[in-house]
Symmetry: C2
């Protein structure tokens, strides 16, 4: 789309019909796109302030970026907020990009709230959309990842998404807007830069109107996404009811829906693997499934779903219902476990089972070994990353006997032998 004041205003009013009454915090790097954004907000007489982050990633260059933004604010009497990254701020070597993004949004949100502003505004444009689209394509995304950057979400507005980088540069030139070339704080984002330099230029050659057509495609995909989510929510209303903190689906009715509908409905509760979902519908009456944040119990013709809290701070223990099959596939697990089953002898333990944190003097009798070992030692020997190690939980009975280290090691004392009929299955 052709970028001028009128078109920018139209886009803004589509996002926010009453934009003239609102106040904004503009995230300005000093590059062409953000300086054009600032000038447009000025031309539209809007109520805005500006925030800039000096990441100190490119020495003197970074300071010159800061200066050009400061100069604009001074000249136009716009309130200027600056965050200067200090030596103390940790810059992790392998994920500067992620670090910078978190820093950015934390800072912007802080200023927005301190200054009582309504919206954060960023200068993302159509070329950014294309890069994001290709990144998501390379990562197996569904409609959600392929329908574009949100134009208006979480009080962040992106009014330039319909305009190409070319249009923005043209506007800057025509209006004598000062900006700094390559203020990118994304120097470290290898993938995005690769796409920008090696793929976008080639795509633009395939068709004179490539970006415009791409933008239309995105709009259409976005409409499709919205339609699907409306229809899925209608189905949720028809197929389930809320009782206190529980959501209860009619199993028979839900099973008549397509795999797609089941997936879309259940992924809300963390059940987002097509194979696992098909197990839910094939499993015995009174099985129990765990996702990372929810418990799903099958009882007669119902699926009863309830939230569970696994956050380190809040987690104490989960008492497991007295049910013969318990699916823990999603629970605290990496993807490496598949169809492993622990059979537990009900005559040797006391119900109910519980899932709890590791205790200091927990002991395990490992399978294939005589005698016992400290659980903390067994865990050390697993040689996990800190991340995976922190997710480990203990399965115990009500007398607090350790039945296993979830999901890695079962205790040999409580393994049910082949012919036993009185057992519980823990399924990964």
């Amino acid at each position: 789309m052709y970028l001028n004041k009128q078109n920018a205003q139209n886009e803004l009013s589509l996002l926010l019909p009453n934009f003239a009454d609102k106040s904004f915090l503009l995230a300005i790097s000093g590059g062409a796109d953000s300086m054009v954004l600032a000038n447009l907000f000025l031309a539209l007489n809007l109520n805005f302030q500006i925030a800039h982050i000096n990441y100190k990633l490119r020495g003197e260059e970074s300071d010159l970026d800061e200066k050009i933004v400061f100069k604009f604010c001074l000249k136009n009497n716009v309130k200027f907020h600056l965050y200067k990254v200090s030596e103390i701020d940790k810059k992790p070597e392998n994920s500067v990009q992620l670090w910078a993004r978190n820093l950015r949004y934390e800072y912007f949100n802080k200023i927005k709230s301190e200054e009582n502003l309504h919206f954060i505004v960023t200068a993302h444009h159509l070329n950014d959309e294309l890069e994001t689209f290709i990144i998501n394509l390379s990562r197996a995304s569904g409609l959600k990842g392929l329908s574009g950057i949100p134009k208006n979400e979480n009080e962040i507005l992106r009014p330039l998404l319909k305009f190409s980088k070319e249009e923005i540069y043209k506007f800057a030139k025509e209006n004598n807007i000062e900006f700094r070339e390559d203020t990118s704080n994304q120097k470290s984002d290898y993938l995005r830069n690769f796409i920008r330099n090696e793929i976008t230029p080639q795509l633009l050659k395939t068709n004179e109107s490539f970006l415009e057509n791409f933008s239309k495609s995105l709009t259409y995909l976005n409409d499709s996404k919205d339609f699907i989510s409306t229809e899925i929510e209608n189905k949720r209303k028809n197929l389930s009811q809320k009782i206190n903190s529980k959501i209860i689906f009619n199993k028979e009715k839900l099973d008549k829906e397509s795999d797609f509908v089941k997936f879309e409905l259940l992924k809300t509760y963390g059940f987002d693997d097509a194979n696992e979902i098909s197990k839910i519908f094939k499993s015995e009456n009174s099985s129990l499934f765990y996702s990372k944040g929810h418990q799903l119990q099958i009882a007669r013709n119902e699926l009863i779903i309830e939230k569970i809290n696994l956050e380190k701070e809040d987690f104490k223990e989960i008492l497991l219902p007295e049910i013969s099959q318990i699916y823990l596939k999603y629970f605290l697990l990496s993807d490496n476990f598949n169809n492993e089953i622990w059979k537990i002898d009900l005559e040797k333990i006391k119900l109910p089972l519980k899932i709890r944190e590791v205790k200091r003097d927990d002991l395990l009798f490992p399978i294939g070994m005589i005698g016992k070992k400290k659980v903390s030692k067994v865990i050390k020997e697993l040689k996990l990353s800190t991340f995976d190690e922190e997710k480990i939980k203990i399965l115990s009975d009500s007398k607090d006997q350790v039945l296993g280290i979830l999901p890695y090691r079962q205790d040999s004392r409580f393994v049910a032998n082949e012919n036993l009929k009185n057992f519980i299955e823990i399924i990964f």
Copy 2:
């Protein structure tokens, strides 16, 4: 996906559960992908024949392609069908690609029907999917264009769509399958070759599993597309009824649906422009809209839709209902007409109006000119392409007086003056 006999068989059985009982015509060019396809069908002991087209586009090379296919058939006792393009066959210079495709499918369908075979099978693979995806992206496509080449449609099967070109070459090598490099009849397809050589290799660099992930995205998009089309058809059932050849929508109910739903429902009848559709709902009671194949009449709380036949062979005339606003935007028009209105004085003509072919001695009194002119001469002066010229129709009254050349010139005699109250509006 890893290509071996088992995985190929699985893919085939997903497309066609009873594939072992069916018979197939394989379209074989002699290249790696199609020769792998032929060898897989052989290894799976399926009932198949082979068809090859020698386009004679690359001289001796084309003959060598033919030979390698013939040799395979001879050795393995497979029935071989050959179409040799002769000097007489027209090869249009600017659209060899389209010509070759039409020729191909016409010939394959002919053989399939003569030999009583069930399916045509082609060797399209995952890299072809990617090329098609990018082509459609460059052309403003919706979910339909971006959800992949149909795996099974119109009795054409494409069982290799999940496998990459790399997998196919690896399989050919491991199984000592003879093939010809670059048998492509797509030499002339500039865009596809550009994508293959300049864009695909760069995309593959973004992620080791790019193609696999891309394939998952396509599956997900395709599921989304299927969900939408199921839900839209449910809505069609709820919002409309069929009475004889007419489809009648409840206007009020339909108007409550989102723009997306209206668009999806009405595009089936050729009303596929969002702006035009919004006009339908804003227009006066008893307006009439024409798409390229349908008539839509607004009557009280109903939209009454009926098919009209505009094919040259069948077209005689359309009698227009006696309605004060008639929208012809879609009718026989290029996109250049927008919001043009012909006001016609009802006191000077005799209803009903009709749309008919040009007659030899039709005369027009052009606006801004004194006197009359032969319609055929006016048309010549418009300097249209043959294509556009053939679509021209005449608007006349029941006495066969020419009211205008649709959509280009109105006749001056019947123009309603500003203050007249008794008129019809023809709106483009």
